[in-house]
Amino acid sequence: MGISVDENLCNRCGTADEPMCVRDCPGDLMFIKENNKAAITDNRECWDCAACVKVCPTQAISMQLPTSLVVRGVTLKGRALKHKTTWAIRLRDGDVHHYDTPSTGKPPFTPQL
């Protein structure tokens, strides 16, 4: 199923230049519609890599799995910050689980495992 865009949140990255989800999609699947909101051309082509999800500055993009794998209701959001990425997995009952993953750092790197 790939991703969906919450048009209330998408602000086209507040720029007239190329929005970041359009820039980063490895399949060139993201585009800007006439109403200036991001959209995906074809969710069947999506690799579920979450590049667009993480880079979205307003967290307008969320990922769902294809319906043949998991029914709708489980979603993933994320946000790439300078040194970490924060994640939120929403489960079927509405419970949200939060995770942080380290993303960049200078050696020696000390993780909090």
Binding site: M1, R23, D24, C25, P26, G27, D28, T41, N43, R44, E45, C46, W47, D48, C49, A50, A51, V53, K54, M63, L65, P66, T67, S68, L69, V70, V74, T75, L76, G78, A80, T85, W87, I89, L91, R92, D93, D95, H97, Y99, D100, T101, P102, S103, T104, G105, K106, P107, P108, F109, T110, P111, L113
Partner: protein
């Protein structure tokens, strides 16, 4: 039609793991050189590393050497491996990992300063941002990056590669890049076979679905020698998510169990090495369990500390985020705080991918392909298995050093003959303005169906025989003849057309290689039902091929040369061990279930 012409010293085709490091190496080592990178997507999130990775599976951990890495590779490929390539790559691994760490890749280390080990050749990393880290370095190197330009073909003149062609996937601009040296590092080929997930989930696969074999196809068309396509890599994966199992198997130490809850590797397959068996046999044994009525098989997560499981979910978020979603959903069904259910495992569809297996360009130890001016590195280069991301960096660096050497003695770039340019332009844009066009997806599905059913896909449990290959070849020939009906209304659709054209080219070579190796050396990867035994007398060789000018493929058999370069290897029991099925433990070392 718009056209852009560029000239450079070094052209890098593909801005993935290998390509980004190659660009930096070229510019750092020889700042006077002009470097162009042609990238189909955007270097920030393109290729295999787009989602991130949670481990580097080619690294010499404490006590390991290039030679021990080679012994491991020899055992895994049952003797057919390029020792020179493997040794030169292995010697470069740790330096390149350190380099990317200095660029900002977080690598957790123990109190002694050594990276945290996941296996003998595998270390843990926090690699969610790995591709942007590489891409931004490539950008800052001063190389000219052509994002969203799909390479279509090599420019060959008087037998020498003198550049490449491509088109902009958004604007349809035709790119002509003249280059004194060319490095191809476009990755392997996904999408040759029907994928494990259906329809809307077809791209929920392990390998990048956007790696469509372009670099392989352009090499084949140009007449470069290719090796070992028949060594198809088939990953053992977490079912549905198709994510790597190493995070659970290695990091959590979860055992492979069958439906009866038995640790089947140890219980039924001691003759294959038990839990120290080869990567291919891990998959083979899993299939055998199914046939014996004891399937499906699982990785046993029962009893795993839930706190550690959180770390695993975080690791999957950094490489295969959908897996984290599926595991969380499973945990939800298992009940909050309840025991984690075992995770089902299965084989994926076969890929032609030289970073895991053996298939790709036939190169020398300087990473030169058989066409002058052309080099190859990473998943597109053959002969060295177990390269993965860090091995791709190592190969890229080795290639660039040789390119710089060649450039020092190389005369000025040659002009491109107009007919060479026109021929490619016509070929590239043929699908545009096609009356009554057939969409690329139709051909893609037909290719995948044929390959799946007749050339050892998932539906036939990877097995094939000469009879089935013959049918596959017939279907493929017909399909090739019909490719001229391919049509595209936009540059984006044109990209899909070329993806399927390239896949058909790769598949044709694959079938020829599969047909030539009349033995079964690599279970599942190369499973000949009509020749089920290994035949060292005739097939301890590389099966290579070259496409002739008339389009036919000529097979070339090349011998395995054991450690002929400047290195003294520990004795290999005079080769006798190699001839025994699966070795007896003295040849190499235990494999790690990381693939």
């Amino acid at each position: 039609m718009n056209q852009v012409e560029l000239a450079c010293d070094v052209l890098i085709i593909g801005g993935g793991a290998a390509g980004c490091v190659a660009a930096v190496e070229a510019r750092e080592r020889a700042p006077e050189l002009s470097v162009v990178v042609m990238e189909k997507a955007h270097v920030y999130r393109s290729g295999c590393l787009a989602a991130g990775i949670s481990a580097l599976n080619a690294y010499l951990t404490t006590g390991e050497t290039a030679e021990s890495f080679l012994r491991y590779a020899i055992r895994e490929t049952i003797g057919v491996v390029r020792d020179d390539l493997t040794l030169t790559m292995a010697r470069e691994l740790n330096a390149q990992v350190k380099r990317v760490e200095d660029w900002g890749l977080p690598i957790p280390r123990d109190e002694m300063g050594a990276p945290l080990k996941r296996g003998r050749a595998s270390i843990k990393i926090f690699g969610e941002r790995i591709k942007p880290i590489l891409g931004k370095r490539a950008e800052a190197s001063g190389a000219t990056i052509l994002n969203r330009v799909n390479a279509t073909g090599l420019a060959v003149q008087d037998g020498r590669v003198v550049g490449a062609f491509g088109f902009g996937v958004r604007d349809g601009t035709f790119y002509i890049v003249r280059a004194k040296t060319v490095l191809v590092c476009t990755g392997g080929a996904a999408g040759l076979y029907r994928p494990s997930n259906p329809g809307g989930a077809a791209h929920r696969m392990w390998y990048s679905p956007f790696n469509t074999g372009a670099g392989l196809a352009m090499g084949i068309r140009a007449g470069a020698e290719m090796t070992s396509f028949e060594f198809r890599f088939i990953p053992l994966r977490i079912k549905d998510a198709m994510a790597p199992t190493g995070e659970i198997a290695q990091w959590l130490g979860a055992k492979q169990i069958n439906a009866r809850g038995e640790a089947y590797l140890e219980k039924y397959y001691e003759h294959l090495g038990g839990k120290r068996m080869l990567t291919q046999d891990r998959l083979y044994a899993t299939l055998m369990e199914h046939r014996a009525g004891r399937g499906p098989c699982y990785l046993d997560l029962r009893g795993v500390n839930p706190r550690k499981l959180d770390g695993t979910i975080a690791a999957y978020l950094s490489m295969a985020p959908s897996t984290a979603m599926i595991m969380s959903d499973e945990a939800y069904y298992a009940g909050h705080g309840g025991e984690m259910a075992p995770v089902e495992i299965t084989g994926g569809e076969p890929h032609v991918v030289g970073g895991h297996g053996l298939s790709g360009y036939w190169i020398d130890s300087a990473r030169r392909a058989t066409l002058p001016g052309l080099y190859a590195a990473g998943d597109v280069a053959g002969g060295t298995p177990k390269k993965y991301a860090s091995g791709a960096w190592a190969e890229a660096v080795l290639a660039v050093r040789a390119m710089i050497d060649e450039l020092r003695s190389q005369p000025a770039a040659t002009a491109l003959a107009p007919d060479v340019v026109e021929q490619e332009r016509t070929r590239v844009f043929a699908p545009i303005a096609q009356p009554g066009p057939v969409p690329a997806r139709d051909f893609e599905e037909r290719l995948q169906k044929v390959m799946d059913e007749y050339a050892g896909g998932i539906s036939v449990q990877y097995g094939y025989a000469e009879g089935t290959l013959r049918i596959a070849r017939l279907h493929l020939e017909r399909l090739e003849g019909e490719l001229e009906a391919l049509g595209a209304a936009t540059p984006y659709e044109l990209m899909h057309c070329h993806e399927v054209i390239d896949r058909v080219e790769v598949a044709r070579t694959l079938l020829t290689h599969m047909s030539h190796r009349r033995e079964t050396r690599w279970h599942c990867y190369q499973e000949r039902l009509d020749y089920p035994e290994r035949d060292d007398e005739h097939f301890m060789i590389f099966v290579n091929s070259v496409r002739e000018a008339d389009g036919s493929l000529r097979i070339i058999e090349r011998p395995v040369e054991r450690a002929t370069i400047d290195v003294v290897l520990p004795p290999l029991s005079d080769g006798a061990v190699i001839r025994q099925p699966f070795g007896n433990g003295t040849l190499g070392d235990s494999s790690d279930p990381k693939d």
